[in-house]
């Protein structure tokens, strides 16, 4: 915890609300959140609570309608593209049509395109980084495969590799364990924990199933109806009372 007092926050939201175009009610409202370097934070909540909106407000894919979002010390409204070049994002349940004309290695390399910048071509070091992340996620044998031919777990690993290829300072994962069988779930969970503990990667992940929160997770946030209802819970502190309150379950 001491590091939190010493370091500048990597992510800071002050009274943030986000309303989708054409809607009247904010999908997230009055959010105050600070995440420090090296923290792993899990965000849980029922469907439609605003978890994805929160992630996409942080990386600026969705512009906030009130409040202020600062990532890596910069205002997301002004420096959105810059922040997204330094933030890996894995969206929720991404699927590809079977005939999608893109190979796995190209999909991963694309993660670096923003970082490479305009008017420049990928260099040898870019391709080396792609090989490195494929090795890390043990997907080297998929390099020349079409993305549409992969299983759900394989696609998830490719998307994580793509997010890591840019050597991000922050990793945002939206339900990384959805639609995975137990083997794939534990495999990807181990990989995410490794990235956090060994590489000190600041990680925010939306998780639907409370049981799949990785053991190395520092903090759990509960969100409901667009508001943070509990912050600074540890994984161990999370109990039936919280879940009852959050999901309105009669357990």
């Amino acid at each position: 915890m001491l590091r939190n007092f010493l370091s500048t926050p990597f992510i800071k939201l002050e009274d943030v609300s986000t309303i989708y175009e054409g809607e009247k009610i904010p999908a997230i409202r009055d959010i105050n959140l600070t995440v420090h370097q090296g923290e792993m934070v899990a965000i849980i909540g029922p469907n439609g609570a605003g978890k994805t909106t929160l992630l996409e407000t942080i990386n600026g894919l969705l512009p906030c309608t009130a409040g202020k979002v600062e990532v890596l010390g910069k205002d997301v409204k002004k420096y959105g593209s810059y922040i997204r070049r330094k933030t890996g994002y894995v969206p929720q349940e991404i699927t590809f049509a079977e005939l999608t004309p893109f190979l796995v290695e190209d999909v991963i390399l694309m993660g670096r395109f923003g970082k490479i910048g305009l008017f420049k071509s990928p260099t040898r070091s870019d391709y080396e980084k792609v090989r490195e992340v494929m090795k890390l996620l043990e997907i080297q044998d998929l390099a020349k495969k079409p993305i549409g031919k992969l299983s759900g777990g394989q696609v998830q690993k490719v998307m994580i590799a793509r997010a890591l290829a840019k050597e991000p300072q922050i990793l945002l994962l939206d339900e990384p364990f959805s639609n995975l069988d137990l083997n794939a779930l534990s495999d990807i969970s181990r990989k995410i924990s490794y990235l956090h503990t060994e590489l000190n990667l600041t990680t925010l992940m939306v998780i639907h199933n409370v049981a799949s929160i990785p053991p190395s997770c520092d903090r759990v946030i509960l969100i409901n109806q667009g508001r943070i209802v509990e912050d600074k819970l540890s994984r161990k502190m999370l109990n039936l009372k919280h879940l009852k309150r959050l999901y309105r379950l009669n357990l």
Binding site: I94, D106, M110, G114
Partner: protein, 270 residues
């Protein structure tokens, strides 16, 4: 069979090759990004613009470009945010633009259906002059240059616009460049292929090549060659049977697309 002077045949073949390259390159984007409805509307807007140009005795090419680009600018944000189903855009805009084009043609001075009026409807082997060739050549060069210069950004956007944005690429200018190139390509090839059928040359070659490859880089490289092939075959049939050139290219490219779906290794099991 029609016999034409060699210089006209040469001009037509060069024009058709350039049209094949430009339209097919644009087609790779249009097909992958599901912009067919928008492109179809743009081609009919170009037709309406050219028809108005003929009526007003004002440069039809310029009018075609203005109409095509205006429709892109108006419909671009709609397509961008997918707020209207593509079928709705297609249903409303296609009939509106066709109706406007036909009204403009009926108001054209002199005999309404002159050869130039018919040319913009169906396309004409004789429609291309040296100036058209120069314009088409310069524009095809610009299109190729832009695709090479921003190949990684275009590839990322074709894969997934949202993921491209998430990787730090500002996708909006590139999206509008694609619409702009589509609009100009359609306007410039209007005389050869005709406003009603130009979109066949945009969609069919790229769609055929998509049936055979999983690597987008190969699709970008091969589609223009296939586009040129379809144009040459279409012109040959047009000259042999005295068919309108646009119709011939549309028929040839549609048959070849059908064959490529049947032969596609991507659709075979095992």
């Amino acid at each position: 069979m029609i016999l034409l002077p060699l210089n006209i045949i040469t001009t037509t073949l060069i024009g058709a090759s350039l049209a094949g390259v430009a339209c097919s390159l644009i087609g790779v984007f249009v097909v992958r990004m599901k912009l067919s409805s928008l492109g179809f509307c743009m081609s009919h807007a170009a037709f309406a613009g050219a028809a108005l140009g003929l009526t007003l005795s004002f440069n039809p090419l310029l009018m075609a470009m203005i109409f095509s680009l205006t429709s892109a600018l108006l419909l671009g944000p709609v397509a961008e945010k997918a707020k209207l189903h593509p079928d709705v855009i297609l249903g409303v805009m296609f009939s509106l633009m066709l109706a406007l084009g036909l009204i403009f043609l009926s108001l054209a001075p002199g005999t309404a259906m002159t050869s130039s009026a018919l040319g913009i409807l169906w396309g004409s082997v004789l429609g291309i002059g040296k100036m058209d060739l120069l314009q088409l050549g310069v524009f095809t060069g610009i299109t190729l240059g832009l695709i090479v210069l921003f190949s990684k950004e275009f590839q990322a956007i074709m894969f997934s616009r949202k993921l491209a944005e998430a990787s730090g690429i500002n996708t909006k200018p590139f999206f509008y460049v694609i619409l702009f190139l589509t609009g100009i390509t359609i306007a410039l090839t209007l005389k050869l292929i005709g406003g009603l059928l130009v979109f066949a040359l945009v969609v069919n070659p790229a769609s055929s090549v998509y049936q055979f490859f999983y690597d987008i880089k190969k699709i970008i490289l091969i589609s223009p060659l296939v586009g040129v092939g379809y144009c040459m075959l279409g012109i040959l049939i047009s000259l042999l049977f005295d068919f309108p050139v646009g119709s011939s290219i549309a028929i040839v490219s549609s048959i070849c697309f059908g064959a490529s779906v049947v032969l596609s290794p991507k659709r075979k099991r095992g």
